[in-house]
Point group: C2
């Protein structure tokens, strides 16, 4: 007999079927046993009118007859006839996966990650993550971007930055990529529009709910832009399309978390950083410290402002100061103390950052000198600007932060299968 998947039960009403999956829960009333069986397409109740040998957690194969059952929350159930244990648990589960909520603290949730991932509510997070990846892949191709894969082992700590993880690379010292920045810019000279989905590594000793040391960045870079608002426009459109795909295909997983997905405006509000600082001071009486561009509380209030004034969960903050942005960021023509750089906030948290980049060799070298950055090891990148790079810009999206914010999870680590932080390298 051929196995059917649980989401095919409906089409098999009244028929004899074979299903395979895991026993998520069971109730034994003596002469009648109720099993909830879960496979990767859903769950269903199976009723046996005799005892079975199965235990919660076992992997089983069940033959029985599918039938409509309006009293069941699944709409259907299976009258079980034969049960085979395909693989049995040999140790009790450390928690009850059948409860509506695991109610574990974050550190326990992650210590037992290999098992907590089996909980339906945790699974839902990563089903949505799968749809996010799919949505980005599809949308970027619709926008005529070419998918690229660039190296994660770099010859030198680039971008003039610290916070690189060091790798022993044969007899050399290498570093792990913090972003595909240089490579995606180089690729603008090749394909004009490129995107990459790949890991980024940051050796920053953070202990926050929104930082990890390894994450998946959704990058893009586009050439022949008129100005940096072109980049903002494309990102706006991409986010809108991706959200519509998540809404359409992820409904059941959003429901599991009682989340209604945010509407993405056709034109997400765009406010200059200097302006939003003023607004936050005036409206919410909060002063963002002078020395920094924006702090977490400032981001939260900027999000609040966007919601209250534009009914938008999103807001672009633009024109970040020259002093805070990397050397390749295009300074503003009107005011060289500001840049054509932006962040995208979603529910009061930065989820993407981007900018127009400098594309003329001379300007780039001058900007590096102003920032006192040495070209050592970056020559391969700098040289490309001698060869007619078009005006260009792009972004990086923190994929896990996006899921964190969609589902309003307490920590970004809940949105990563096996997160890496200062203390956590296992599992």
């Amino acid at each position: 007999m051929e196995r059917i998947l649980i989401d095919q039960i409906q089409e098999n009403d009244g028929k004899k079927v074979l299903i395979k999956g895991r026993v998520l829960n069971m109730r034994n009333l003596g002469n009648i046993v109720f099993l909830i069986i879960q496979d990767y397409t859903g769950a269903i109740q199976v009723v046996f009118d005799k005892n079975t040998e199965a235990k919660t957690g076992d992997a089983v194969a069940i033959e029985g007859t599918a039938k409509k059952e309006i009293r069941s929350k699944y709409g259907f159930e299976i009258q079980g006839e034969k049960l085979e244990i395909v693989s049995n648990i040999t140790e009790d589960l450390p928690f009850d996966l059948a409860k509506n909520d695991l109610n574990l603290n974050l550190s326990t949730l992650l210590d037992y990650r290999t098992l907590s991932l089996r909980h339906p509510k945790v699974q839902a997070i990563f089903k949505l993550y799968d749809i996010l990846l799919k949505g980005y892949e599809i949308t970027m191709r619709e926008e005529k971007f070419t998918e690229i894969k660039t190296p994660k082992i770099l010859g030198a700590a680039t971008e003039g930055g610290a916070n690189f993880f060091k790798v022993k690379y044969f007899d050399k010292e290498a570093a792990l990529a913090q972003s595909p920045q240089f490579y995606k810019q180089i690729m603008v000279g090749v394909f004009e529009r490129v995107f990459e989905i790949g890991p980024a590594f940051r050796a920053e000793p953070h202990f926050t709910t929104r930082h990890v040391n390894e994450y998946i960045s959704l990058d893009a870079e586009a050439g022949f832009i008129k100005d940096f608002y072109d980049v903002v426009d494309i990102l706006n459109r991409v986010i809108k399309k991706v959200f519509s795909i998540i809404e359409k295909e992820g409904k059941q997983y959003l429901d599991t978390h009682n989340i209604k997905i945010s509407e993405v405006p056709d034109q997400i509000p765009r406010v200059k950083l200097a302006e939003i600082k003023k607004i936050i001071k005036e409206k919410y009486n909060y002063s963002i410290p002078e020395a920094i561009d924006i702090d977490p509380e400032g981001e939260r209030l900027a999000g609040k402002y966007a919601k209250e004034n534009f009914n938008s969960d999103f807001i672009f903050i633009t024109h970040y100061p020259w002093s805070e942005k990397p050397f390749y960021t295009m300074p503003c023509e009107e005011n060289p103390e500001e840049t054509c750089g932006f962040d995208l906030l979603f529910k009061g948290l930065e989820i993407a950052t981007g900018s127009q980049r400098i594309h003329a060799y001379k300007q780039l070298i001058e900007n590096m000198e102003k920032k006192k950055i040495k070209p050592n090891g970056m020559e391969f990148y700098l040289d490309i600007f001698k060869y007619a790079m078009p005006p260009h810009g792009g972004w990086g999206i923190g994929s896990e932060r996006l899921i964190q914010q969609i589902l309003e999870l307490g920590s970004i680590k809940e949105a990563i299968l096996f997160p890496r932080d200062v203390k956590r390298l296992v599992p």
Copy 2:
């Protein structure tokens, strides 16, 4: 005026258009100038009846009138009216990108990678790579696999193996993932079917045409398999679908390399390793050394055999010896000296490797003891087998090798944007 892309010229016959792109080539006949302009959708000839300031390599914007031109290989051309230099080259290109072939040796090709990538024939390689990624993403979802992203920084050098790159991770020592093996198996317990596209790092000091130290692995793992032929069947189907997508969407790039894509049989021939060794000895009088499973010459001849006897560019070699396969590989029931492990060869080169895995805790531990592998640091992985893992198996495909073999490139490094080998960390 709104820019149109070069692949939209046809729809604009007789109209005034604005295009943007790079000057790939130019001929100046005094009172008439021919420019070949390339954007990310194609190339077209532009004719000016006066001199222009553009040089080969410049990024330009051109206004003119689109018209049919049967004498042009592009089918259309543009009668140029206005040319604006968007960004100009300030240094001469080191080679002529307009030639049909770059004819550079591999090391020069890679030293000048940021520019050699602009050659149409090199671009074609990475357009096909983009389509390969797309094909795999789409096909795996059609097969109901969930896309996952697993960590690339690992807490310990796992799989009992050497050849890990070491990373300084705060006050700990960590290692770069050689494969997502443990994590994708763990995820079988969560989603039953998972796939991952991500980097894999191998610290092996190879100097061959088919090895690099960082590559993109197309991984998959599936649960509730009947036996390892289930895995072989799914992989067979996936390769067939992916190739049909590459054939359909990549025709122009295949043509650029004069390649007719291989037909993928519905059932790729499957031969046991012991059997193919015999065949190679008898048919081609070549003896694969006893001590190893199969060598490159053996693979080449196995490919030749598949072509001559089954008219197939593909062949599965199965039942690799227990002694050669990792500890998690399922031994054969009939003969424990052999495993349920296989390789897929394409045109005489291994492009994928896979197996059924051991899913019972006791058997796994016993197999490790037999192989004298210590569990240190792998407990998080081993423990999962106490919790009813279903029979499962999967594969890893070397994505760049697949492109290398499709296009019959001399080295895998030609199929990687910025390859990493023992000597090469830059660009």
